[in-house]
């Protein structure tokens, strides 16, 4: 075990964990930030997506010792849950079971940060990495498109 210093959602944090602990489990177990989800643990589904310096990364295979940039999770994406992507998700009524949606939203928010008005193809290419077992893909796509008009 060792002490690691992290900035998560703008706050300095210290955790005492094994160096190989994936950021996902540091967030969920050590910091109680359970909005970031586990679904595969092998970087195949995107449920665990967070931002490192505004870039979408999969936290399930990222050892805490390798985290050198500030982390943003779904809990810190906006102060009041009113990021354009979050609002679009409600307006389009995207969630079914909802389990994949934090990862979907974080992936979409990172895309729009980098590219506020992506093409339909860019949206599909980016969101292709996130699995939604409930099959809410049509509305996910629609919500990203809607959010892009409000960036």
């Amino acid at each position: 075990m060792a002490i690691f210093k992290l900035t998560v959602n703008g706050k300095e944090q210290q955790v005492d964990v094994d160096a190989d602990t994936p950021l996902l489990w540091v967030l969920r177990d050590s910091l109680g930030l359970t909005g970031t989800k586990y679904a595969c643990g092998i970087a195949q589904c995107g449920a665990c997506t967070v931002h490192l310096n505004d870039v979408a990364v999969r936290s399930c295979m990222l050892p805490v010792s390798a985290v050198k940039a500030p982390v943003t999770t779904i809990e810190g994406l906006s102060e009041n849950g009113d990021h354009p992507v979050q609002l679009a998700w409600d307006e389009v009524d995207v969630p079914q079971c909802g389990y994949c949606q934090a990862g979907q939203i974080m992936t979409a928010a990172a895309l729009l940060k980098k590219k506020p008005h992506p093409s339909a193809e860019e949206i599909a290419n980016t969101m292709h990495g996130n699995i939604c077992r409930c099959g809410a893909y049509h509305r996910i796509r629609e919500a990203v498109t809607l959010a892009s008009t409000k960036m």
Binding site: K37, W89, D90, A102, M127, I131, H138
Partner: protein, 712 residues
Amino acid sequence: MLTINNSSRRKFIKLSSLSAGGLMLSFKWSGAGAKTPEVFKPGAIEGDVVFNNYLNIATDGTITIFSPNPELGQNIKTSFPMVVAEELEADWKKVKVVQAALDNKFDRQVTGGSGAVPHSWMLLRKAGATAKYMLIAAGARRWGVPAAECHAADAFVVHKASGKKLGYGELAEEASKMPVPENVTLKDRKDFKIIGTAVRNVENKNITTGKPLFGLDFQREGMLIATIQRPPAFGTKIKSADIAAAKAMPGIVNVVQFKNNVAVVGKSTWQVLKAKKALKITYEKDGSVESTADHEQLFTTLMDSGKATVRRKDGNVDAAFKNAAKIIKAEYECPFIAHNPMEPMNFFAHVKEDSVELAGPSQTPAGARAAVSKLLNIPENKISLELTRLGGGFGRRLKFDYVTEAAEVSSLVKAPVKVIWTREDDMMGGSYRPAVRYRFEAALDASGTMIGYKLRGVGINAGNSTREDNFPSGAVDNLLIDSVEYESPITTGPWRAPITNFLAYAEQAFIDEVAHAAGKDPVQYRLDMLQKARTNPAGAIKYDIARMEGVIKLAAEKAGWGKKPGVHQGFSVYFSHRSYVAQVCEVAVEKGLPVVKKVFAASDCGQVINLTGAQQQVMGGIVDGFGHAMYSKLSFKDGASEQNNFGAYRLVRMKEIPEIEAYFVDNGIDPTGLGEPALPPTGGAVANAIFKATGKRLYKQPFIEQDVFKKA
């Protein structure tokens, strides 16, 4: 009959009393900057008055509606309260929805079989209407006017003649003491203001902000995490287990063996996952150890020599086939697949001296509680079960193996424990959609009419792999449907639209083949058969001919069936779980390969409750049906599944989905369910459209492995 229990009225319950068995999420982690998660708890509002099992109204006007059934994405937590609110004449903006814990006062706290809405529809309406009557009675008494002169609107009781009105909150206390009416008049559907509209998911804000809603998010002070090593191959058992190294690893509190499992219990997820890898367990044979190659052989052998159970027999099949002008024969096969709900299995259990606390995601909480009661010999009334939101279910969480496991581990280590499954555990852990091969035979007369029909299903742990009373039964004079069952150690279970999720593909692809051989349009061919079933039925008809015709015609009309030159269309229609869905799939050929472009769906699920939720169920069902037919399979080698995560096991992703247009038949009948019925028809519609585009039939799932998807 509705029970109204006024003695258990919970008034003025302070937020501080939340710890009594509620979904309490407390954190005391060092250095944690986490916000305390939101807690939803019935009766936490000042001046809350209980009206009945489904409904509280607080003196501030807040209306709390309890949704008893497990929510797994079928949107029940929104649609159930909509029904109550409709009859109550509530103002939807003031409605607060609460997931009810497992409680014997509710009679079917199950999510499965697309049955929740059909089952509870009348109960929910009566719950709302009864409270409305009592509120009106209270208002009338206050004003000294006859109740018949008053009515309710937007959460107010109104006396039209005098212009007086009072809010529900002001009347709640008084109204709850009024006599409970024996009979109430329900609203006419033409007056519905909420039912049938699009009401957004009540949980959207919590989901989009990452609130701890799911079982995996559940926390409890002092809670330990457990991961379990189960036998990696079916048909094997533990020979020896060396747990010393795992037990010595940091953060590990205990390692215990029970049955064929070894549980590693510790303080954090990562620590238990690492320690699990340090277990040294050897296994030995304990039954038949099977591979997919064995199953292929079995299908072939059992198809001809197996002991078949006759499921339905009409007329004289042998004679029909002897007299046939043409015989068509085909075999269809589907592999095992896993449920793969996005949230893997997990459950919390705290077994104490003489009571048990359970919490987590379950489609059948009452069954889970009964199983834990039996396992630990603790009476059911000493076991509480809190329902979290389910991160998907698809039938997997109808089983409660993962609940009894959690109880067993907690009782062994004498601590509150949350058992978590990894994706690998989930995918290798069984309870799969069974693998089945079907053989169809059709006898046609000279005019192309089907005079004989035979279906045999050979299933591996599939039980009856047919649905003998489904169409075309009743529409063919001579018919024989039977099934051969093979028992394997590879465990299976209900998977969204059990049996029909693959049988429908086979049946609808075969009918298409028959229509083609008869030189008939496949839509007209089905309509002709339905007409025959109506005018001259063979045996019992257990589906509604008019409803089936209704969706066939609507789908054909919306898709422009047969009217789009150059567009390759395939048709399918299916009746399952009380509802009817017809689909037209469109396929294009791009760079020499078929591409599924679009699906039109016409559904008859009776009264639609929530339009946006209903569309989601249809679109999600089609994506599910399409995705699994196209891409997914579990194969086995020496008893172990060869795919164990989303790398090797392919699930459909965004760029692969067809466009979907979803339509509903509005026929005024009560709701008949929609969680499953849109899925079964999709595989057949896709296969039939691909045939149109390529001239090749698809006899085996997943389609992507078939020749038509391979570049020449």
